[in-house]
Subunit: 449 residues, 2 copies
């Protein structure tokens, strides 16, 4: 993309004209952080809950088009002893009024996927530290929009990839960096989660009870399911890919080069509708493009391969199927086992990971274990929002930055492209424009980020 | 390939002119089977051991260029109470004299990979039932050679894929055919076996003790390792792919359509040489083409995907990483767990496979468990040779036929091609030339085959 296209795109894509403001990294440090929340549905309220419990955070404003969500969000605040926030709920553009406030340092965006980039771009142009839920972007152009907006404005955009803070994958990160796997050669990961009762519900409850989606669906069924109708690709790559990208120093000494994706036929969602709603339910006529399982292979600059599985349409136990393998050992998530050539007691035999989990627990977990305990998803929601808050306080780049958001999320549209072309290989753009060669690690360096 | 090329190839490729003989399926049934063995090294003697213990088998002749292997093979026979076989050991072409004998019904070939097809073609042209070790073929042309030779001569060629008889994958086959996984959508498999001490030894023992290969290596190190020098692809796909192909009725109502493969860089073998032999060992200068891990995705005609991993250069516990997943459930090898939507007690939760293993044990295993006990690789070597013997006795097509041998083995050269072309998608030929549409299942039908 040339400079001319870039300006057209970002100007066209944003409702907020960029008038120039000091780069965030040049601003003075602060002790308190003032946050605004765009989207306070189920996911947004998870983050709000962490913020409400943080003594150094003021929640200034919240925004959602659903008045019930606003009500529930205010209750989260008051239950935690904070005062109610100013609410923006007038219409889908009311978030722009939230962004105009000059008493907000950072904005947390937890809205439907297709709103992530327009809102993030507006937030960055308004000079806010911006945190956006996963996947950050839906299209390749959107990944460029995020990067270009950051480079124009100096406003940071952090992808809220909570799984990067999962205790086991952080211990493995610790071990990878200490060279315990030798040279890392292979990563395996994915999003394997039976989402059928998330994609369909009765329009009243968030999970199951019916086979409605879209206009008649509630919560994620209201907007997320349509992606399974319209798209065949890895719709949700970052939960798996984020941790592996950190292990492999993607964008910092390494990069994604190309990928190829393959999809099975699509049977699971239609079957679910027929099984639960009957063959005459109107949704039994819907054709879903999304293959039941989508597998993607990524070739990295430094010679590693990453396999990413997307598996959300079939009955199965939850698993992100992590695997880290190098020239001196292998760890696997599914059996919770490890084998290290120079440490494991018996050759060719697994040993339980527990011992290593304790010994190589990441400094962040050691320090904040008790704070994390009551946050969502086993504590990882605490760490991911905390990292955003700390970045704002210290006026530094967040530990998962706009280039991570762009590159990890781009696997989704690129996997669609590969599948549409018969699984041909597709180049993955270098969103850092060469800076991966000199960029230094920023994630999980110590007990601060 | 047109008819003209086909004739040139098969005639040029074979040392035995085909003079015509009755199609094997038209010959009368027999009660006893007379076998010849070409290649009685470690692998060949596994098969010889099963044959020697079979009351209905006479081992007429054996062939190997290594006199020590001949001696050990004769000892296998006499220990089992059989008389010594006629030995062919003069030179690399002496196997042709074995094939000229008219008192041999079937020939078992367990030689280096690159000899499989030349010897199999000669054996088929000599009118013998032919059994060949895995992988059956090295090149795509060789897969066609096997098929064309069968179609010309009517002589069967069975691929000795013992893992197809593994007790768990056969129970899963049983369950797949009973529809317990619903429509099967996804298969995962591979050959994940740290072969470093097979690829390198001291020239005296078969496993380890040094970093020699080729001229100075013994047993498999003598010939197998060179493939890791010369080729980057899935060198050994059939142990994983055979069972999955049976689950998915490949060549019988379904077929492989195309694949794409990806390889990590190659570090493991070089590191092993340096670690064990020192940086000054001459083999430390060898450049290995084979990526440490090669992953292949296969798109099937009926919409399924298969992922195949080849992982033989790094330290790791052995695993063929099987996974069978359909619209109603999933089974995994690595954690030995299963989840069936309509049977498992708790939603979204694994249960141990043991119970299902007992309940859905394949009829073959139920009937022959005690016979299998002393055979190699946990009993599967018994079943695979037994199937060959029974096919000869009954003058029927063996349960893994020449089309299976051709298609499964072809994944190896096709994966090389995909990797060489930057992981682009590569078409997988239909070796049945359309007969997959009407071919019926032949494997694991009952307690006979």
């Amino acid at each position: 993309m040339n400079r001319r296209n870039f300006i057209q795109t970002t100007v066209a894509g944003s409702a907020i004209p960029f008038m120039g403001h000091a780069m965030q990294n040049d601003k003075p440090k602060t002790d308190r952080v003032r946050l605004g929340f765009i989207g306070v549905g189920l996911r947004g309220r998870n983050h709000l809950n962490v913020a409400a419990k943080s003594a150094d955070v003021d929640v200034v404003a919240i925004c959602d088009i659903d008045p019930d969500a606003i009500k529930r969000a205010q209750a989260v605040l008051t239950r935690a002893g904070k005062k109610e926030a100013v609410a923006y709920s007038k219409d889908p553009k009311d978030y722009l009024n939230l962004l105009k406030r000059d008493d907000i340092d950072g904005v947390v965006i937890a809205t439907p996927w297709e709103l992530h980039v327009p809102m993030s771009v507006d937030s960055m142009r308004a000079g806010k530290y911006t945190a956006v839920e996963v996947s950050a972007t839906v299209t390749l152009q959107e990944s460029w929009d995020l990067v270009n907006t950051f480079e124009e404005t100096g406003s940071h955009c952090m992808i809220l990839e909570n799984v990067c803070y999962r205790r086991d994958v952080m211990a493995v990160l610790n071990m990878v960096r200490q060279g315990m796997f030798g040279d890392l050669q292979y990563g395996h990961c994915g999003y394997q989660h039976d989402l059928r009762n998330v994609k369909f519900n009765d329009g009243k409850q968030a999970y199951g009870g019916g086979v409605e989606f879209g206009e008649k669906g509630f919560s994620e069924a209201h907007w997320r399911t349509q992606h399974s109708v319209d798209r065949n690709g890895d719709l949700y790559p970052t939960h798996g890919l984020g941790p592996v990208a950190h292990w492999m120093d993607i964008n910092r000494g390494n990069k994604f080069n190309y990928l190829t994706s393959m999809a099975t036929s699509s049977k699971g969602l239609h079957k679910y509708i027929v099984d639960k709603g009957g063959p005459d339910h109107p949704n039994a006529k819907v054709k879903f493009k999304l293959g039941d399982i989508v597998t993607t292979m990524i070739q990295c600059e430094n010679g590693q391969n990453i396999v990413v599985i997307h598996d959300t349409n079939l009955p199965r136990p939850y698993s992100l199927c992590f695997r880290a393998q190098g020239t001196e050992g292998i760890w696997m998530d599914d059996n919770k086992m490890i084998y290290l050539e120079n440490k494991s007691p018996k050759p060719h035999q697994w040993e339980p990971f527990d011992k290593y989990q304790k010994e190589y627990d990441h400094p962040l977990w050691k320090k904040f274990e008790s704070d994390a305990q009551n946050a969502g998803h086993g504590g990882i929601d605490f760490f991911v929002l905390r990292a955003f808050i700390e970045s704002i306080k210290n006026k530094v780049t967040p530990p998962m930055d706009v280039y991570d958001a762009a590159a990890w999320s781009a696997i989704s549209p690129l996997s669609e492209l590969s599948i549409a072309r018969g699984s041909t290989a597709v180049e993955i753009p270098d969103f850092t424009r060469g800076k991966w060669k000199t960029n230094k690690r920023i994630f999980g360096l110590n007990d601060q980020y």
